[in-house]
């Protein structure tokens, strides 16, 4: 089936089987490799994107439900890495292997949009759907707090 939707502000049309998950449309049809495959069952969060502003596991979302939707992927944050969260991730040297970090950033972006100054408990709730196999959680938590500070100081 042919589906038209927006990715990072640009209109895209794809013609794929209607049960194709958004993840594979992004990766293999639109060549946006930042969104990662980790488990395929919505357990790890590596494939997290925003759909109409909501953090969503793209491996669990069929393309047939995507008509006219607006998708934000990690490539749409800032290509230069200048959002507060990206800057905090760089400042605190968060990644080890780095594979999960796009999904972590997308979940964290959704968290800060809703809760600009999150508590540790807020972070536990918002981020526990994203697995980091290298367990960089200490720094992910610190980087979210740091990004919240950066945002607060510029406002």
């Amino acid at each position: 089936m042919s589906v038209t939707f927006k990715v990072n502000g640009a209109s895209k049309t794809v013609d794929v089987a209607d049960d194709t998950p958004l993840l594979w449309v992004l990766r293999d049809h639109l060549d946006l490799k930042g969104t990662k495959f980790g488990c395929g069952i919505g357990q790890c969060g590596a494939c997290t994107v925003h759909i109409n502003g909501v953090a969503t596991r793209s491996c669990q979302r069929r393309i047939s439900t995507m008509a006219n939707a607006e998708v934000l992927t990690v490539e749409g944050l800032s290509p230069e890495g200048t959002t507060p969260l990206q800057r905090a991730w760089l400042e605190l040297d968060v990644p080890q292997c780095g594979y999960c970090q796009a999904g972590q950033l997308m979940s964290a972006t959704a968290l800060l949009k809703k809760t600009p100054k999150p508590t540790d408990a807020d972070i536990d709730t918002a981020m526990s759907g994203n697995i980091c196999r290298c367990t960089t959680y200490v720094r992910i938590r610190a980087a979210i707090h740091r990004a919240a500070e950066m945002t607060a100081s510029t406002n």
Binding site: V16, A17, D19, T20, P21, W24, D28, H29, D31, L32, K33, G34, T35, K36, F37, G38, C39, G40, I41, Q43, C44, A46, T73, V74, L77, S78, P79, E80, G81, Q86, W89, L90, D93, V94, P95, Q96, C97, G98, Y99, C100, Q101, A102, I123, D124, T125, M127, S128, G129, N130, I131, C132, R133, C134, T135, T136, Y137, V138, R139, I140, R141
Partner: protein
């Protein structure tokens, strides 16, 4: 300052050489052949050494604008080696890190000889060779400047990419490119190295060179590879290890949408679990189409003999073996039976740790293209050497017709030391004209791993009236055949407390195993530390001593004449490379356990955690553990809280580590140590691979849970600098986290955990 004790890496062979050449369009290139192979005895790579000609590698390129390219030769799997190796070169070269661009080296044994990622060996085996490369290039730039100025070299110095003369004259490395191109290279073995007090990059925090690509989502990993006209595929193997294809509905699969090829692969005979296995390949225009077609696949399997094996059966066999006379003795000091009779208190306990999967977050994948008789491969492999050798053999082509690009890997943890996924992709690609990307599902990954082997330790021990540990016996039950161990299923006769107990017996019995096993982060040590340090904790209670003090007392009790170690057992056929437990007292040619270094980290962690001085409520406790592996000394304290209903919360972990004189990249070292510790906590909390009817029951992360943010905790890392050459950090911080947690739970609740994972235990208390 006291001279640094050099590792074997310092003994570089005569084949080492260094040369300089001009780059077209300006700039110079420094090439070297550095023999790091002999240094890698701490992590013996499998197979025969390369005997052909060696090619000097362009480790360093200096451009007229002053920018410097430095090659990182080893696979980056999250351990930070892509920063670490170039940092060593850059410091001796005396350039600013901000002027350095890091290039990933292509796999080429003729150039680099060793490009593996495993065993925490990159630091000890490359520390001196990489310093020499940087220092030799710097020396040549000084020679060029001195010749240009017609002054003695001794009047010249360098700083930040500039040669300076005592008169005040200065010239940048970039401006010396043409003059340096004709300088004779110095002898690498005698080139002057920096005094460590003059290091400017080593010991400073340098953030990951690929970080910006990571946070902006640029293609970076093996899974991100795309080639023109590429097909996407899956390879379906028998769920039972060792099974074969009898028949499959290939004709029906070929009719599925998007499918371009489908065929049965027979595998190699005799079957080797770490090489090409039998199965069915499905190649389609997209990976989702290949997966959709796979749902229609019906295969009749010949499951073979492993179908009779199960975790329940292994447990029953282990209990049977534990009651029988041990099959062999690994070590015997003093008179264990006599000491037990005269001991004031004795303790018996059986410890068990389960099979585990590595589960790196990037599922196994490889892209391969067979074109004009040559095979080109892009793969997130930890061990391209053995991948190249095995793939060439399976494909029936010479290794010189095979190229491997080392992709950044989304985690490794030892899984990617086996190249089964690389070999199958190369084989499948050779059968078709198109380039092919084979990508596993998470289920494929969890069900076709090389598992951390389960292990059983049947302990008994005794303390005397003064509370000293006087008798110890461990009947270790594991997997193998005869005197051989399954990969990573061995126990080193020098494993602590071997050598520290006067009456010490270490025995072993093994049972057959058809399930593939292999090295997983801190192989051997990752389970052994839990058992040993757990039982030591039990003995400290029997002795009525503080757990830290009891351990310090044991460490002070080195036995004068240790018995000669048993010869290292050979791995079972099909064993994973480098699988041995290279924990313990350093058998297999590794360094000996230095009790003073362990006392140092134990005292440091006790101090930092305020051990014994913190008043904790019931339900909250601190536990301690230490372990020596991969040349690193780590002692850790965990504080954990168990609610009355049994809910566990790890509050905090304190880490003290001694990995030598330098922490090369502190910001990454801390990250690595924290990751090791939380990896251990994750394993202890909920991970177990269960075997039933010869196959893995677990499927995905809901049945093999990884750690999540809400289970994480602060991890406080402290370093004890010692006058020893720096060693690696990918592994040694991991093992003691598990016993420290178990011992904390005991302190909190009085419940002694002897089998993992914790999710199988009721921790509730009243």
């Amino acid at each position: 300052m006291t001279p640094i004790i050099e590792t074997p890496a310092a003994h570089v062979s005569r084949r080492n050489f260094f040369k300089v050449s001009s780059i077209i369009g300006g700039g110079i290139m420094f090439s070297a052949y550095i023999d790091t192979a002999e240094a890698a005895t701490a992590w013996a790579m499998p197979g025969e050494p390369w005997v052909g000609e060696f090619t000097p590698n362009a480790f360093i390129k200096i451009f007229p604008d002053g920018m410097v390219n430095i090659v990182a030769k080893n696979p980056e799997i999250g351990q930070g080696v892509k920063n670490m190796l170039p940092m060593i070169i850059a410091d001796e070269l005396d350039v600013e890190w901000s002027k350095v661009r890091v290039e990933q080296g292509l796999f080429d044994m003729r150039v680099y000889q060793n490009q593996g990622a495993g065993g925490s060996t990159a630091t000890p085996s490359n520390w001196m060779p990489m310093r020499r490369v940087g220092a030799a290039a710097r020396a040549m730039l000084v020679t060029a400047a001195a010749a240009t100025w017609k002054v003695p070299e001794s009047e010249c110095s360098t700083s930040a990419g500039v040669v300076m003369h005592t008169s005040g004259k200065k010239i940048s490395y970039g401006d010396l490119c043409s003059a340096a191109a004709s300088v004779t290279a110095p002898d690498l073995m005698t080139v002057k190295l920096k005094d460590p007090k003059d290091f400017k990059i080593i010991g400073t925090s340098q953030k990951g060179v690929d970080n910006k690509l990571v946070v902006t989502g640029k293609p970076l990993y093996g899974i991100d590879m795309v080639l023109p006209g590429m097909l996407y595929g899956c390879f379906v193997k028998c769920p039972v290890f060792g099974g074969k294809v009898v028949s499959a509905n290939i004709d029906e699969i070929k009719k599925q949408p998007g499918v371009k090829h489908a065929f049965v692969v027979d595998g190699i005979t005799p079957q080797q679990l770490n090489s090409l296995l039998p199965g069915v390949a499905i190649l389609a225009d997209s990976w989702w189409q290949a997966q959709t077609a796979r749902k229609k696949l019906n295969v009749v399997w010949d499951e073979g003999p492993t179908a009779s094996q199960s975790s329940i059966g292994f447990q029953a066999k282990s209990e049977e073996l534990s009651k029988a006379a041990p099959q062999r003795s690994l070590k015997k000091d003093g008179d264990y039976d006599g000491a037990m009779k005269s001991a004031t208190k004795t303790v018996e306990a059986a410890y068990f740790y389960p099979f585990l999967s590595h589960a790196p977050l990037e599922p196994q994948n490889t892209t391969a293209w067979f074109k004009d008789g040559k095979m080109e491969i892009w793969s997130p492999t930890q061990q391209p050497q053995s991948g190249s050798r095995s793939a060439a053999a399976v494909l029936g082509i010479p290794e010189t017709d095979l190229t491997i690009h080392i992709s950044r890997a989304g985690g490794g943890f030892g899984r990617r030391l086996n190249n089964d996924y690389l070999i199958e992709a190369a084989y499948i690609a050779k059968q078709v004209p198109e380039p092919v990307k084979i990508l596993w599902t998470r289920e494929d990954d969890i069900q076709h791993d090389f598992y951390r082997p389960a292990g059983w330790h049947y302990f008994s021990g005794g303390v005397d009236a003064k509370g000293a540990l006087v008798a110890w016996r461990d009947h270790f039950v594991s997997f193998g055949e005869g005197n051989g161990w399954a990969a990573s299923a061995n126990l080193n006769p020098t494993e602590f407390p071997s050598g520290f107990v006067p009456n010490f017996t270490m025995d072993a019995s093994v049972m057959s195993l058809g399930v593939p096993t292999g090295a997983m982060r801190a192989p051997g040590s990752n389970g052994i530390s839990f058992a040993m340090q757990g039982f030591i904790d039990e003995l400290s209670v029997a002795a009525g001593k503080d757990p830290v003090q009891f351990r310090l007392d044991i460490l002070a009790n080195a036995q004068p004449a240790p018995a000669p170690a048993a010869p290292p057992p050979s791995a079972a056929p099909g064993a994973a490379p480098g699988g041995g437990g290279r924990g313990g007292g350093g058998g297999g040619g590794g360094p000996r356990f230095d009790a003073a270094r362990m006392r140092g980290v134990l005292q440091l962690v006790a101090e930092k955690s305020n051990w014994g001085k913190t008043k904790l409520p019931k339900g909250t406790g601190m536990g301690v553990g230490f372990h020596f592996s991969h040349s690193g000394y780590f002692a850790e304290v965990v504080q954990a809280t168990v609610a009355k209903d049994g809910t566990l919360k790890v509050d905090k972990v304190w880490v003290a580590g001694d990995i030598g004189s330098q922490i090369i990249n502190p910001i990454h070292a801390e990250n690595q140590a924290q990751g090791c510790v939380l990896d251990g906590i994750a394993q202890a909390i909920g991970q177990e691979i269960t075997i039933d009817k010869g196959r893995v029951v677990n499927t995905n992360f809901q049945t093999f849970p990884l750690l999540r943010m809400r289970q994480s905790c602060p991890v406080d890392v402290h370093w004890l600098r010692s006058e020893n050459a720096p060693t690696g950090l990918g592994e040694p911080a991991m093992p003691p986290a598990i016993p420290a947690l178990i011992n904390a739970i005991y302190a909190a609740t009085g419940k002694r955990i002897r089998t993992l994972p914790l999710s199988k235990h009721d921790l509730s208390w009243t």
